[in-house]
Amino acid sequence: MKRLFKPGLLIPVAIIVVLAIWPLFSGNSASTREAMFTLIMSMALASSLNIILGYTGYVSFGHIVFFGIGGYAGFWAITRLGWHILPAALLGGLVAALIAWLLGLAVLRLRGAYFALATIGILEAMKALVINLDFLGGPVGMEMHFSEYKRYGGPMQSLWMVYWSMVFLAILVVVVSYFVKTSKFGLGLMAIREDEDAAEVMGVITPRAKTWAYVLSAVFPGIIGVLFFFKNGNIEPGDAFRLHFSIEWIVMIMLGGAGTVLGPVLGGGIYQWLRKTLLTSPIFKDYQLVVAGVMLLIIVLFVPTGIIGWIRTRSAKLRRVFE
């Protein structure tokens, strides 16, 4: 329990909580809520990806595949089986985890660029598969009937329920991320990141550790996918498996600092805030992806450790505050 009250965990959780309650105090609560939803969702997704990318050093480029798989599984359970959103969300996470475990057996043997390429391949293959599965709606996907929201007390209540579930999940992801980082398991993952062969010689059971990291990083995007598409009211292959979202998550992680707990939270927030600002500005609205690309380039060239990584290298004292 002592580990719960460390600044390394409290700072990112506090950031999420402050953002989460903002809509309650803002005049236009619905639009603020939507903005915050996107922000907090990005933080949770980036933090999940960080477990395999930042801690373990495996760049999962097509990580959105788990968001899509989970989303489809949950959406299917809600619309075709009439499930409640909560068990459906859990199902989404479970299916994503299971697929990650199976895929991990095959692709986690690859290293470096080969692994990254394989994950893109998986994403495209999964998209093509879903397009051809009639029970998932094929290329047009599935829609949810508006009356579905009645079950939760109407559309307004549904949106708020999804919002608070998202907030809860984001905090949970950060807690998990923190506990992984400060655990023996996490130490093994970081050893793999630095030198996989040396880690193995020191006794880290690398196949097992990598598989667990991959599964853990897939579970939350799976759950989040269900919440997102439930809120959306429809799901289609193009939205569920969009490669450039995956790449945006990587930009968020790199911006905040890969392999840190706070980094993806900070990076996710800053990136989405910037994107929103650009999208609503008359000059930049068509160039927001260009800005993201330039940003990634600048980070990789000049601050490869990201904001938090950079701060952490400044002094050992700061290293204890920012995990």
Partner: protein, 251 residues
């Protein structure tokens, strides 16, 4: 008690036989020196013993258990640790964390707080305690070699494989490292060391084995091995050649 038995181990890479039918035993508490010219197959033999490579033929018995072809993390759990000839620090982790990886995942499978304690003791022992909070990537070569040792020792191994821990060190550092190795033996750890610095390996080892072109060509005490004509030939060429050349000069 025999801690390690290497039986007829052969390792081939395609047409190249890197290790050829090598057989030797190791008693507990011994320091065994493994010498031979460059490319003789010394590191490959280490890799076969700790499971980085699976031997093409032969058997490795460690503390009575057949470990041939087991993954290297399994042999680490059983108490077999090693250092690398080309140092492999975990750059972005601190020196302490590097040693903790060894302790956490080594023979005793410690939890984090025990591992931190053990790692700190070991760093004290190898003289790196003041560097505990430094990132491993910024160390110099001598310090990285000591870090390799600290990592291996944190695992509390029964058998330690040292792959050229003296290479690249200056005279003072070599002397300090030799003392450390003697201290390790005092703690009851059995050691096999690959070394090119002859005076060091002759001094430290209870027994030497010599590899040349993958085959074991001599075995015995340092004195015996240094008198062995085959060994002298392997290192210096034909020992009689100089004498014969002198003879020819006269004529």
């Amino acid at each position: 008690m025999k801690i390690l038995e290497v039986k007829h181990v052969t390792k081939r890479f395609g047409g190249l036989t890197a290790v050829n039918d090598v057989t030797f035993d190791l008693e507990e508490g011994e320091i065994l020196g493994l010498i031979g010219p460059n490319g003789a197959g010394k590191t490959t033999l280490f890799n076969c013993i700790n499971g980085v490579y699976k031997p093409t033929e032969g058997q490795i018995i460690f503390r009575g258990k057949d470990i041939t072809g087991l993954p290297t993390y399994r042999s680490a759990h059983l108490g077999l640790s090693r250092t690398h000839q080309i140092v492999r620090p975990l750059n972005e982790l601190t020196v302490l964390e590097n040693a903790m990886v060894g302790a956490c995942y080594g023979r005793e499978n410690m939890n984090l707080s025990d591992a931190r304690k053990t790692a700190m003791e070991v760093l004290e022992f190898v003289g790196m305690a003041d560097k505990a909070e430094v990132l491993a990537g910024v160390l110099n070569v001598a310090q990285k070699k000591r870090l390799e040792m600290a990592r291996a020792l944190s695992a509390k191994p029964y058998l330690l494989l040292l792959d050229e821990v003296l290479a690249g060190l200056n005279t003072a550092e070599v002397t300090a490292m030799l003392d450390t190795i003697r201290d390790i033996r005092e703690q009851g750890v059995t050691i096999i060391m690959i070394e090119h610095i002859m005076h060091a390996v002759m001094n430290l080892s209870d027994r030497l084995i010599v590899l040349n072109y993958g085959s074991l060509i001599a075995e015995g005490t340092p004195e015996e091995v240094s008198q062995n004509p085959e060994v002298i030939e392997a290192y210096l060429g034909d020992p009689d050649l100089a004498a014969r050349l002198l003879e020819e000069e006269k004529v």
